[in-house]
Symmetry: C3
């Protein structure tokens, strides 16, 4: 088991937490909350696999994703109050998750021999469309369309990864640097926005 695989399972769980928290705020029942958690966690990868024709979609073939989502779901309910307190660690994991899913999406698209711009698009789709589907199902205009550095950070991390992988064969290090790029961009974006909000 590679560290990338382990991180991708953890990342799926963290995505699920974000979906479950959204659904709880919307007063969905336990079933609806589970569905939203599931869809948020696997939505982006599912759309990527469907567009590429990689079916049955990848999570259907690996029960660890199922376990990660159910564990995330149960833990979110048990530690509902604390989850909000640990927002910072959640933010970190979530950002690692989107960085990682961006790169997994790019890698799959590269293997299919797609043009580089489509590889980048599929990276961003992998990382961000779970959140889009979550927002559509909860009847919100997707967050990503309104004030989001989210997709931009993924895209930038993706560009860094594509450039690095053309220069160096050190895939693990390339991935780490790319994820770091996503984290840094998102961190400063949130920081800046926060101070902007203070000025209002």
């Amino acid at each position: 088991m590679s560290w990338i695989y382990i991180l991708s399972v953890i990342g799926t769980g963290v995505f699920a937490i974000s979906g479950v928290l959204t659904a709880i705020q919307k007063k969905f029942d336990v079933v609806g909350t589970l569905v939203i958690g599931f869809v948020t966690a696997v939505g982006g990868g599912t759309l990527r696999d469907i567009l590429l024709g990689e079916t049955p979609v990848s999570w259907l073939q690996d029960r660890n994703y199922f376990i990660a989502i159910v564990v995330a779901y149960v833990l979110t309910y048990i530690f509902k109050r604390q989850t909000l307190e640990y927002k910072k660690s959640m933010f970190l994991f979530d950002t690692v998750g989107i960085g990682l899913f961006t790169i997994i999406g790019i890698q799959k698209a590269v293997l299919m021999g797609l043009h580089v711009e489509y590889c980048l698009i599929l990276g961003v789709v992998s990382a961000s469309f779970g959140g889009v589907i979550r927002d559509v199902l909860t009847n919100e205009v997707p967050l990503i369309f309104r004030r989001e550095i989210y997709a931009t950070a993924c895209f930038a991390g993706g560009v860094v990864y594509v450039i690095l992988s053309r220069l160096f064969a050190t895939d693990d290090i390339n991935i780490l640097i790319s994820i770091a790029t996503v984290i840094v961009i998102r961190y400063f974006a949130v920081k800046r926005q926060w101070s902007l909000n203070l000025n209002v």
Copy 2:
């Protein structure tokens, strides 16, 4: 032609009626109503087939589904008033439909060799995502996420089916018992909710 196939065609028609009625209430025109009827009827099975990579999706290969939907559409317009009177028979057919589609979804997933938890998920997806897509397209928060025993009844029927099919080879009888489970759960859920509403 097996009784399962016949029921699945009838079930598709009944699903279409529920979509058409929703669209009429929303004052959609005749085209929009037809689209919503269609999408409600085939949406769940379509998502299941796409996730599994069973393409062209199954309804595209069998014109009986098309005929069932168009007949349902025309009949709903003609008997608009009566449709509401026959709500009880509609409820029965609809519940038979979701029970049956749950099991068809499970069977397809079992044939692909998926883990049992994913088989159950695909069963519930087959039965309930037509309604989810209907609600998204009519700009509602999907009913299933708010107060619905719908998905739970499907899931319970699916569990019964999985257990029975590991114990007995009598597939037809297993299916009948599983559908009966769905009907009983949904019937009591609606009953109970009805009396709860009376208390308000």
Copy 3:
């Protein structure tokens, strides 16, 4: 390069413009606007390809669609004001686009050996579901469901194409006549509606 291919690339760009304009009106940021433009442009063809199992979906294999969308996106921002003035040419291109995508959808479905009614459905899906997805993502009830001759015009053009292609082998001319049908129906529909609006 056939004239059909060239028109389909231009049509993709024009679809993108309609998405970008919608997103600008909704005050989406530059990223959201690009996503909506992209999804509007490729959404219908993507759904068609996924239903048929033609994957990776067609636009992923041809970077000209990417270029058309990005060019449309940039031009729409630069000529935002003028775009509204050139509404008539836009309307014409958009109508040519939906006519053409209807026929491309039908042709692909015919090649897969589907029944004629499903070929027509896939034609309409190709032409109109980009707009449906645009409306869902911007949290609107899809325009097509409320007062739209859009789908009807596609359907009529599709019927004309199916009939002509059974009578004559002159595919290019059949396509031209079918697109003209779409244009004429949509033109008169808009005209009539316009005068109706005047009466209000």
